[in-house]
């Protein structure tokens, strides 16, 4: 039996063997479902961000038009005393849906994606009531392609191949096969190439489907580089599992024991590892209490309200030029500004502590992710997809900084009770979130991907060596 004959036989089996057929069709359906579902999810995200931004722009345009009307004399200043009110400036701040949020949902479903940055809100209240997602849905996580790659793909590979050698041995036909001009190594690798090839083909086809217009989004050119990185990570994980399976087969155990060994590795990798790492990260780096934070913010707000006269006095001492006699807008406006600023000053350090703990946890997990390839792969896939925790935490921080930048820019006008000029308004900062570059992402996933590939190569080499020795043993016997 030649290599070509084995390849042909394997290809035929893929189409005719009911078990293999069922497994591959199930995998195909899982991949397609994940891609279609992910596409719908990203589409919703894009629509939400777009409609939110458009609504805010419309609102701001109306606000600006009133100011234009006053400046051009269309409206008399006394007829619209609120036009150009500095305290009322607000801007939309949104995070663009991750370029591949359809493939790896990551934390994008639980983190805020939009904010109307207004000076009336303190920094702890910048994000509206976004916590209305279904808790059932949130708890389970998404059935996205990352989930399929990390969990289902290895299990499919195991189910298709665990008995690639043991079945022939148990049926007593291994000797007969090996009496042909073919080695054990060739037999195993040829069979696995076909079986794993089928899995890889389905995965690649699904990724191609995700690029179809209208599915993951129309920003094809933007998505492709990220998709290349995503594919690199998924490919490295695929190679690792292929090597693990070949290694397990090369141990020449009973089919049942091989299946148990591989299932055990799958469980440790996908369940025990993540559960232990997650618990360890959260125990070693506990988040400061959100409830205590809330109490601090409320107390700061109440205290600021109570001592607003002192705050105002302090402001007038700092800015004697602002004691404009013709101050014509209600006093509560600048009081609110000062109270909000006082609350901001109190809560910003606490929010920074939250960010610091998140950073420490991420650092901890970055170091320990190598203990669980599933964790490592998930984090890398999310990074490539733009749905990682780091990006979302950075967005929240940017929004807070932006609010403070706007507050500083209009402070004098608010305190003086003066109207903003059109030039002032147009010169105010607009929100821009600094996105990580593709090079930066590649740099971050480089080490994890390299690790997966190196382990795969080492395991593969050991496995091929084992198969060589097995060949010798069979010959000797």
């Amino acid at each position: 039996m030649s290599i070509q004959a084995i390849t042909a036989q394997e290809k035929r089996a893929l189409k005719t063997d009911p078990t293999q057929l069922v497994l591959l069709v199930a995998f195909l359906l899982a991949c397609l479902y994940a891609v279609l579902q992910g596409g719908a999810y990203r589409q919703t995200q894009v629509e939400m961000t777009t409609s939110f931004t458009e609504a805010q722009i419309e609102r701001n345009t109306a606000w600006r038009d009133r100011l234009v009307a006053v400046e051009t004399g269309t409206t008399a200043p006394e007829d619209d005393r609120w036009a150009g009110l500095a305290m009322d400036v607000s801007f939309p701040a949104t995070i663009t849906p991750g370029p591949l949020s359809d493939l790896s949902q990551g934390v994008s479903d639980v983190k805020p994606a939009a904010s109307r940055v207004s000076l009336w809100r303190s920094v702890d209240r910048l994000f509206g009531n976004y916590q209305i997602q279904s808790p059932i849905d949130t708890a389970a996580g998404a059935f996205d392609l990352a989930f399929v790659v990390i969990f289902i793909m290895p299990l499919m590979m195991i189910a298709l191949s665990y008995d690639v050698l043991s079945e022939d041995r148990e049926l007593g036909r291994l000797g007969l096969i090996l009496s042909q001009p073919i080695s054990v190594r060739q037999l195993v690798t040829t069979r696995l190439k076909v079986r794993f090839g089928a899995v890889a083909t389905i995965l690649l086809l699904s990724l191609l489907v995700s690029l179809l217009p209208g599915l993951g989004g129309d920003d094809f050119a933007t998505r492709v580089p990220f998709l290349a990185v995503w594919l690199l990570v998924a490919g490295a994980y695929f190679l690792l599992w292929a090597a693990v399976i070949v290694w397990a087969i090369s141990l020449n155990l009973k089919g049942e024991t091989t299946a148990l060994l591989l299932a055990g590795l799958w469980i440790v990798n996908g369940l025990v590892g993540p559960a232990s790492l997650s618990a360890a990260a959260e125990s070693l780096y506990p988040t400061p209490s959100r409830l205590a934070f809330l109490s601090e913010a409320r107390e700061a707000s109440a205290e600021a309200y109570k001592s607003q006269a002192d705050i105002m006095q302090g402001m007038l001492l700092d800015h004697p030029d602002l004691t404009a006699e013709n101050y014509s807008i209600p006093e509560y406006i600048r009081t609110s500004f000062l109270v909000t600023r006082t609350v901001d000053e109190a809560v910003v350090p606490v929010l920074q502590r939250f960010d610091d703990v998140q950073a420490e946890r991420r650092q901890f997990l970055s170091a320990l992710q190598y203990a669980s390839p599933a964790v490592l792969t998930l984090q890398s896939l999310n990074l490539a997809a733009g749905t990682d925790l780091n990006r979302h935490v950075a967005f929240e921080r940017s929004v807070r900084n932006f609010k403070q930048a706007v507050a500083e820019a209009v402070e004098v006008k608010v305190l003086a009770g003066e109207r903003l000029s059109l030039a002032d308004y147009d010169g105010l900062p607009r929100f821009r979130h600094q996105e990580p570059s593709i090079g930066g992402i590649l740099g971050q996933v480089g080490l994890p991907v390299g690790f997966l590939i190196v382990v795969a190569i080492l395991l593969g080499a050991i496995a091929l060596n084992n198969l060589g020795r097995l060949q010798n043993r069979i010959r000797e016997s």
């Binding site: 899982a30 579902q37 919703t44 939400m48 939110f52 934390v107 639980v110 939009a114 509206g128 009531n129 976004y130 916590q131 209305i132 997602q133 279904s134 808790p135 059932i136 849905d137 949130t138 708890a139 389970a140 996580g141 998404a142 059935f143 969990f151 289902i152 299990l155 189910a159 665990y162 008995d163 049942e256 299946a259 148990l260 299932a263 469980i267 996908g270 369940l271 993540p274 559960a275 232990s276 790492l277 997650s278 618990a279 990260a281 125990s283 506990p286 209490s289 959100r290 409830l291 205590a292 809330l294 109490s295 409320r298 107390e299 309200y305 109570k306 703990v357 998930l378 999310n382 990682d388």
Partner: protein
């Protein structure tokens, strides 16, 4: 005879390194999960008590303030954590723990623990419930997959039959032996219960003993179902290897894949409203039709004015013996409450439809049915959260009404300039949450209980009939 079978099986298990390894690992994970759960609940309870106290203190000492200004600052309702959450935190991390009880608006619960969690948390959570839901069935499979098939492969089944063992005796003996081994996981459960008992009973969960008994019984039925199914499959297929692959495949589907798929399908078929849209609608529909400048809104306010003037027999607002601004505020609350009821009913309705769809999937995954029962009895499921949120909303309405009445009755001509002081704030009530009874909880999960029982019954039938079938096959061979 059964006793002899049990002893023989137990001896065999003791010698099987694989079984002992999985048992010890599961036990260790179970203990770690118990300590982790206890630590989390203990921290949550401590933080909540502190937040409740701080909220009261801040409220009591806010100084002179208009009651309506105070209603905007308002108070918070903090969700208590049940002791049984040490065992099963359910959806607790995915639902907010604090609800702002402000005037004019019904806020969703905020401060979800998941927002501070690491990215991998939704892969796997180290809780005693999760350990039992995931690993106990795996242990059952490991113990029983070879139960009958291996006897047949080794040729010992014929010997067993010739010694007069009936199919029923063999099945019962093997099942009891496997369950005895699984029962060795009990110390980790007992540890969780003991640690739960060691936490403060801040929620005062009614029927806690009954709930705990229900949880134990549900898990026993679940584990029994998997054990029977494993014996049944082992008896039905020709090889133990095939039994193992089928059972591990079923386990992976039931425990890992279907829960994600089910919730994903649920949220697709019954999507929850999009957050920014929901917030905007809630805000606008509860406010504009009352306070807006539309003809309908003006008419609504005019009608109220006419009604009040008629009620007090005066012609002008200035002649009213009450503060009309306060009265109008309370009327606006009554109007908004209807909108909140309608929109939150829609929201909860979408969640519940999702839960119903997920429940349908429990027909193919007993883990889903068990998970629903377990978290419901532990007081950490979605219904428990809804009960809390609805109770908090009722309190909010009462609380805001008290503040409005203060302005109505004492505001006089000062209206928004009227100030209440600490004496008044200190008389205001606290939110005293009363959780639902065990009977209410059971009425929510009766379908899940039936499904779990059906699973156990079918698995028992499968095992019982399959063992008889295997005896017949062996006799005919």
């Amino acid at each position: 005879m059964i006793k002899a079978i049990i002893w023989k099986e137990l001896l065999q298990y003791r010698r099987d390194g694989r079984v002992m390894s999985v048992l010890l690992i599961t036990l260790a994970l179970g203990f770690a999960a118990a300590v982790n759960g206890w630590s989390t609940v203990e921290t949550l309870q401590r933080e909540r008590q502190s937040a409740v106290q701080s909220d009261r203190d801040t409220w009591d000492n806010q100084g002179k303030k208009n009651p309506h200004t105070a209603a905007h600052f308002s108070r918070y309702a903090f969700q208590p954590t049940s002791n049984l959450a040490v065992f099963d935190p359910g959806l607790k991390d995915f639902m907010g723990s604090a609800i702002w009880l402000e005037a004019h608006y019904r806020d969703p619960a905020t401060l979800r623990a998941v927002e501070d969690a690491v990215e991998i948390q939704r892969f796997a959570r180290l809780t005693p419930a999760w350990i039992l839901q995931v690993f106990a069935p795996l242990l059952a499979i490991l113990l029983a997959f070879a139960g009958i098939a291996a006897e047949r492969e080794r040729g010992t089944l014929r010997q067993v039959m010739s010694s007069g063992v009936s199919p029923q005796h063999l099945f019962v003996g093997k099942a009891i032996a496997a369950l005895c081994i699984i029962a060795l996981l009990a110390p980790s459960v007992i540890a969780a219960v003991a640690l739960a008992a060691n936490t403060q009973d801040e929620m005062g969960l009614p029927g806690a003993g009954l709930r705990l008994a229900g949880i134990v019984l549900a898990y026993a039925i679940y584990i029994g179902a998997f054990t029977f199914a494993a014996i049944g499959i082992s008896a039905r297929v020709a090889k133990s290897k095939t039994a193992l692959v089928i059972l591990v495949g079923f386990w992976a589907a039931s425990v890992v894949f279907i829960p994600r798929l089910a919730t994903d399908v649920g949220s697709t078929l019954s999507p929850a409203p999009e957050a920014t849209d929901f917030e905007a609608r809630l805000s606008s529909e509860s406010s504009s039709p009352f306070w807006g400048s539309s003809e309908a809104a003006q008419q609504r306010r005019a009608d109220i004015e006419t009604e009040v003037l008629a009620q007090y027999g005066v012609d002008n607002i200035a002649d009213l013996p009450i503060n009309y601004d306060g009265y109008l505020l309370q009327e606006s609350e009554e109007f908004a409450n209807g909108v909140f009821d309608r929109m939150y009913d829609e929201l909860w309705g979408a969640y519940e439809d999702q839960a119903d769809i997920v429940r349908l999937f429990s027909l193919v995954s007993p883990t889903l049915a068990l998970s629903n029962i377990s978290s419901a009895l532990a007081g950490s499921d979605m219904q428990a959260h809804r009960h809390f949120a609805d109770s908090a909303e009722l309190f909010r309405r009462d609380f805001v009404r008290i503040l409005n009445e203060e302005m109505i009755e004492n505001g006089g001509e000062d209206g928004y300039g009227y100030m209440s002081d600490n004496d008044f704030w200190q008389q205001n009530p606290d939110f005293d949450y009363q959780p639902p009874t065990a009977g209410d909880v059971l009425s929510n999960v009766w379908a899940d209980i039936l499904i779990l029982l059906a699973w156990a019954f079918l698995a028992y039938q499968l095992a019982s009939r399959s063992v008889r079938f295997s005896f017949k096959q062996e006799a005919m061979a």
